[in-house]
């Protein structure tokens, strides 16, 4: 029962998994802070590109 006397520690896969998850979360936060994440769009982005003809109306 000696192996039960001491906590065997965190498995390696958990450490690798944790580092990977942390990097992904940081990447996501950075993308949002730099304004490249979801929900961001430049003013006028959903207007048709300047000078071009307007997009045809749906159903015509």
């Amino acid at each position: 029962m000696a192996e039960l006397d001491r906590y065997p520690g965190t498995p390696r896969w958990v450490k690798v998994f944790g580092i990977f998850a942390l990097v992904l979360v940081l990447l996501f936060v950075v993308l949002h802070l730099t304004g490249r994440g979801l929900g961001d769009h430049r003013p006028g982005e959903h207007a048709p590109s300047g000078g071009g003809p307007p997009s045809p109306k749906r159903g015509h």
């Binding site: 029962m1 039960l4 906590y7 065997p8 965190t10 498995p11 896969w13 958990v14 998994f17 998850a21 992904l24 979360v25 490249r36 994440g37 979801l38 929900g39 961001d40 769009h41 430049r42 982005e45 959903h46 048709p48 590109s49 071009g52 307007p54 997009s55 045809p56 109306k57 749906r58």
Partner: protein, 175 residues
């Protein structure tokens, strides 16, 4: 609190169904988001974004919540527990993360779909958001594949809390 074998199987069936259904719905969402971004036919683009809004509200959101609830119920009702094994904890955190991100992402999906109902989308319309939809759907699919893999392989490793609980149970039996 341990469930009877019949209830445990029912909860597990509900959890697997919701989780795998969620994965399939996200794969369908990704296909539609790619079609909306890359198709040269404006009708296909509009239809794709209308379908993404329908899928996210009628399939993805309900299945994600069902997966979270059934997962918590299944783990608490069995010897696995919710915080005893790292694979269960990792699945829980990933599911919470994916569900939270999903809640944030319903808004841009609605915005693109709303514009698609007003007029034909050009390739420049909301381009940044449409690219982001593809990237996020791909990331969500990856997270759900990791979750499925964790659920099937159940990699070894107990948390400190789980180890203490197991030790207490062993001590109690030996007394």
């Amino acid at each position: 609190m341990t469930m009877s074998p019949r209830i445990r199987k029912l909860a597990l069936t509900a959890h697997v169904t919701a989780s795998v259904g969620w994965l399939g719905a996200v794969a369908a969402f990704l296909a539609l988001a790619i079609a909306g971004l890359t198709s040269l036919q404006s009708q296909t683009v509009g239809a794709a974004y209308l379908a993404t809004e329908l899928i996210i509200w009628s399939v993805i959101v309900p299945l994600s919540l069902a997966s979270l609830v059934t997962g918590v119920v299944s783990s608490l009702g069995t010897a696995w527990g919710l915080f005893r094994h790292y694979w269960v904890l990792a699945k829980l955190l990933l599911t919470i993360l994916a569900t939270t991100l999903l809640a944030f992402h319903t808004q841009p999906v609605g915005r693109v779909a709303s514009l698609a109902t007003e007029r034909m989308l050009s390739s420049a319309d909301l381009r940044q958001v449409r690219i982001q939809l593809v990237a996020d759907a791909g990331a969500a699919l990856l997270v759900l594949l990791v979750n499925t893999t964790l659920g099937v392989y159940k990699p070894r490793g107990m948390t400190r809390y789980g180890w203490r609980k197991q030790r207490a149970a062993v001590d109690q039996r030996s007394c």
